[in-house]
């Protein structure tokens, strides 16, 4: 089987992030890795913490946590990454804030039609910092909606929804719907006049959808009118079902972000080293290695190093060049969505 061995090799040569990583030294001349390991086993020290400083190493050797760290925080991002790319994380932060403040609000809230309003006034007026925590939750809900729309706008206007990231867009749309459902179900919980009538209206709007609308409204209200069961139902949805779904989908969303990498802004032109073949000879969907990507915090190398330009025969074996994920999980795939530059504009 042909595998992209050269890439693996270069990955191994990368310096390890955490100290205590026994493999870090493997690349240096000296005793080979297997020899070192044999010595450790003889000394009974393999996979054991060598003093306090190696706790991280001990955990790492069991969980590959440095790999996770590298994938999440030390991954390659495209040149031109800017503040707009933080909108997704900002949304995620607000979601975490809602989850935390929500748990504490639940300590005082009573989901019953006769006690809900009183429990909210008690929480707001009597409980220490209650108004502040409730305020965070209440304002945070609006903020999350604003941020999720800005984030969606960012991915839309940067064309980040295109191949291979369509699925992340789809997951995003589901997250958007679930976030608005959180807003709807949360609004009823104080059970004051405004909550009640807003919910009545929202249910009427739901019911006005043809064919399924009337049944969907009955499902939401748990009957033909908004009543006591509606409150319990919204409480369960708001507290348990929807947050769980959102958390799971954020996990999937982030997994895809890490796996596929992020898109370069549309105004960043991919540079093409001199002598590289023109775009027309590159099979569609095969990432080109000259994509404008640099490790975080580093300037782009103006001249490509020899090993970065194995493009002499890009069309020779598409399986070797790999699809978007190419079987080398740690590596950033080049972005096929970015506009390839003309040969004339190549190499900055």
């Amino acid at each position: 089987m042909k595998l992209s061995l050269p890439k693996r090799k270069s990955k191994q040569a990368e310096p390890a992030v955490a100290d205590g990583d026994a493999e870090a030294a493997a690349a240096e001349p000296g005793p080979s890795r297997s020899e070192k390991r044999a010595r450790k086993i003889a000394a009974g020290k393999h996979h054991s913490a060598e003093g306090g400083k190696d706790v991280a190493g001990w955990v790492d050797s069991r969980t590959n946590s440095t790999g996770i760290y590298t994938a999440l925080l030390a991954r390659h991002v495209p040149k031109g990454t800017n503040w707009f790319y933080t909108l997704g994380s900002a949304t995620m932060f607000i979601f975490a804030m809602q989850a935390i403040t929500g748990v504490f609000l639940a300590m005082y809230y009573t989901p019953s039609t006769t006690q809900a309003y009183a429990s909210i006034t008690h929480l707001t007026n009597d409980v220490f910092m209650g108004e502040f925590v409730r305020g965070m939750h209440k304002w945070g809900s609006s903020l999350m909606i604003i941020l999720i729309f800005l984030h969606m706008g960012r991915t839309f206007f940067f064309g980040a929804y295109k191949y291979p990231r369509e699925l992340n867009w789809v997951i995003g749309v589901v997250l958007l719907v679930l976030t608005t459902v959180m807003g709807l179900t949360g609004y009823l919980l104080p059970f004051d006049q405004r909550s009640l009538w807003a919910t009545v209206v929202a249910n009427n709007i739901t019911a006005s959808g043809p064919v399924v609308g009337p049944y969907l409204a009955d499902f939401l209200r748990a009957g033909p009118e908004v009543g006591a069961t509606t409150l319990s139902r919204f409480y369960a949805l708001h507290m348990m079902l929807i947050p769980g779904l959102i958390a799971a989908l954020i996990g999937a969303h982030l997994f895809l972000v890490v796996k596929l990498g992020t898109t370069a802004p549309p105004w960043v032109k991919a540079t093409r080293p001199k002598g590289a073949l023109g775009e027309e000879t590159v099979p569609a969907g095969v990432p080109s290695p000259d994509d404008a990507e640099v490790p975080v915090g580093q300037a782009a190398a103006s001249e490509p190093t020899p090993e970065e330009t194995p493009v002499s025969e890009p069309a020779a074996d598409p399986a070797d060049a790999g699809g978007p994920d190419a079987g080398n999980a740690g590596e950033e795939p080049a972005d096929p969505g970015a506009e390839p530059a003309d040969d004339g504009e190549a190499s900055a």
Partner: protein, 226 residues
């Protein structure tokens, strides 16, 4: 790993162990395709049965209210001679029990009048819930119209829509006479021709093809026959 840097000299590379090729490819030697298929299918089926055993009752539990009709409630709203055929009297009663004040609703009640070919012995209770989005309408005696404060919906004396965004006439409540008192019962909706149909939510059309686009829900009461 043959060309890895970790190998000091390529000559020391251990000889490759070649496993016997299994047929079909990807299967262990001696393993038959059917055996693996049977186990895969069995695990999926068992897992499916186990998950369904949990999911079906839970979903049914959540969906059940769709098919449940609440207890039929009849509330006395006034004596027979409280109501006249030429004007409406406002009454307030509890439509949804158990949620306090907000469970109350308002209706306008009058005696049937010969003018609108209703049986003068009957009583008519019109719901104040606007057929547009559910705001409370008000009866204006001078105009003999119901007027909605929200988006300007206007209904005539019988509750038929004569202006604004509402999609059908005002809902009604069934009425009956008990012990010299008028009692109001379940809600129902009407078509533009005032034909009684099962109660619809605000915003839903009634009559004709709309009966299929906004189908009647099992949680509502059958309309009175007319």
């Amino acid at each position: 790993m043959s060309d890895s840097k970790n190998n000091n000299s390529p000559a020391e590379e251990p000889p490759r162990v070649t496993l016997p090729e299994a047929e079909p490819r990807g299967y262990f030697e001696g393993e038959s395709m059917t055996r693996r298929k049977v186990f895969t299918a069995a695990s999926l089926a068992l897992g499916g049965v186990a998950s369904m055993a949990v999911v079906l009752p839970v979903v049914g539990f959540a969906v059940a209210p769709l098919f449940e009709r609440g207890r039929e409630r009849w509330v006395a709203v006034g004596r027979l001679d409280d109501f006249k055929p030429d004007t409406y009297k406002q009454v307030v009663f509890t439509e949804t029990p158990g949620i306090g004040e907000v469970g109350k609703t308002t209706a306008y009640v009058r005696q049937g009048s010969a003018e609108f070919d209703e049986d003068p012995g009957e009583y008519l209770a019109i719901s104040t819930r606007c057929a547009h989005l559910g705001c409370p309408v008000r009866f204006v005696q001078a105009a003999k119209n119901f007027i909605c404060p929200c988006h300007g919906g206007v209904y005539d004396f019988e509750g038929k829509r004569i202006g604004g965004p509402p999609v059908r006439p005002l809902d009604r409540f069934q009425t009956r006479i008990r012990n010299n008192h008028v009692e109001v019962g379940p809600r129902y909706s009407v078509t533009n021709q005032l034909k009684a149909v099962r109660a619809r939510d605000p915003g839903e059309f009634t009559g004709g093809i709309w009966e299929y686009l906004y189908p009647p829900r099992p949680s509502t009461y059958p309309p009175p026959s007319n």
